[in-house]
């Protein structure tokens, strides 16, 4: 089957040169990536994610499968119709549960505009458990929007395509959320750490040396900076440590297991969103 061609090296060099140019052009620009993930593979990824979720549910509830098989044997002539109806029912039930969870967030925060979405991809090359959601700029999502679940903060949107967006989690050192200890009012910044991300633990830094934080305290977003809304729950204090310079570093146990979430909501609008940026822009224009 194989034959040797003298043109191979020339074509390889040309290909590598073209790809280098593409890499340079697309560095910091999501358009090409977005074309693949947002348009070409979006339906496939969405279908596969749904299939994966249904399969996991089926493993969790073997009794339901038994019931279905029994029903199938009794109602052979209606087999196809019943199965279709059942799949539709599960989809609707899952969708209903998902929306109901986020309804609670909306009810408690009337100023929020939220977009419920499903995790459709987790790339093995992604560090710090980043993932892709099935909603994008077509749904009103923009870069830096906060991502939450019913349990608390998950991360922020770091890249937006037409029909999908990439999320950087609070386990990533790139994520920085202004945070507050609800009990002691001590403030700091919650970020990720390569050391603890595997254990689903974030860290809180820039804390006053005279802090009074202790294990079990609840950490929420402070709302300072306008990137995250105020009072979004993040987690509880796991332990208080010190870094190499002796400054306190608090390990935070997030309320949500960021490594395994299947659905999340993007907060596209909230009171005070981007206030610092708007202030900086108005100052610079003066």
């Amino acid at each position: 089957m194989k034959s040797t061609s003298g043109n191979g090296m020339k074509i390889l060099v040309m290909t590598v040169c073209i790809l280098l140019v593409v890499a340079l052009v697309t560095a910091g620009n999501s358009t090409v990536n977005g074309f693949f993930t947002g348009v070409v593979f979006y339906p496939l990824q969405r279908a596969a994610a749904s299939l994966s979720g249904n399969a996991q549910d089926a493993v969790k509830y073997p009794a339901d499968i038994g019931k279905l098989e029994e029903e199938n044997s009794r109602l052979m002539e209606e087999n196809r119709r019943l199965n279709e109806a059942l799949v539709e029912y599960y989809d609707l039930k899952e969708e209903n549960q998902r929306l109901h969870k986020f309804y609670g967030i909306k009810e408690n925060n009337e100023d929020f505009s939220i977009v419920p979405s499903t995790v459709i991809a987790r790339d093995p090359n992604e560090n710090f458990y980043g993932f892709v959601l099935d909603k994008g700029s077509n749904d009103g999502i923009s870069e830096s929007d906060p991502v939450v679940t019913e349990n608390g903060l998950v991360g922020y949107v770091s890249e937006v395509n037409l029909k999908s967006c990439k999320v950087t989690t609070i386990l990533s050192p790139d994520s920085k959320a202004g945070a507050l200890d609800k009990k002691t009012e001590n403030q700091g910044i919650v970020t990720g750490s390569p050391e603890y991300c595997e254990e689903n633990i974030a860290v809180m830094k820039n804390i006053s040396a005279q802090h009074k934080m202790a294990k079990g305290d609840i950490i929420v977003t402070s709302g300072f900076g306008g990137k995250y809304p105020k009072n979004i729950r993040i987690g509880t204090v796991h332990s208080v440590e010190h870094d190499y310079s002796g400054m306190p570093v608090v390990l935070v146990d997030p309320f949500e297991d960021v490594r395994n979430i299947k659905s999340a909501a993007v907060i596209v609008k909230f009171d005070g969103k981007g206030e610092i940026e708007a202030y900086q822009n108005s100052e610079s224009s003066k």
Partner: protein, 168 residues
Amino acid sequence: MNRYKAVRYLAYFLEIIVCYIVQTTPGFTPEVFGGRPVLMIPLALSIAVFEDEIPAIFWGVACGLLSDTNYSGPVGYYAIMLAILCYCVSVLMGNYIHTNLLTTMIIASISIPVIIFGQFVLFYIASGYTWVWEYFLRHYVSRIIYTWAFVPLIYVFNRFIAAKTSSV
């Protein structure tokens, strides 16, 4: 293009789609010791061992571009690396080395660590993240081994395709 080649290329195309979906869909490949497999590397390698240089480059670029799409980095790293890998593998297997599972496994045991370590250098170390070598040991080594473990499966499948679609 003869009929056998067209069938083989269609099989590669479908294989790439399936591997891409399995690689990226949450829950399809469970995390083991902090790592999940990058199936596009063994797939590109297994295609290249049965193909001429130019088709090997083409399929390497296709696998690479797909690998580049879902993680936070510019398009190009995997496409370039897999193009070079596939070219080298095709030349080696066509002229100097006998094509079998053992030689493919040996090539994979060199190329997979090189590609994933290169990615670690460019996208982890160069990004200035701390805890460098501990992170590599806890997340990347398992990814390398996990990826390597898929080589026999994908190789056997591609050998089957090559045998069935050989026009000779």
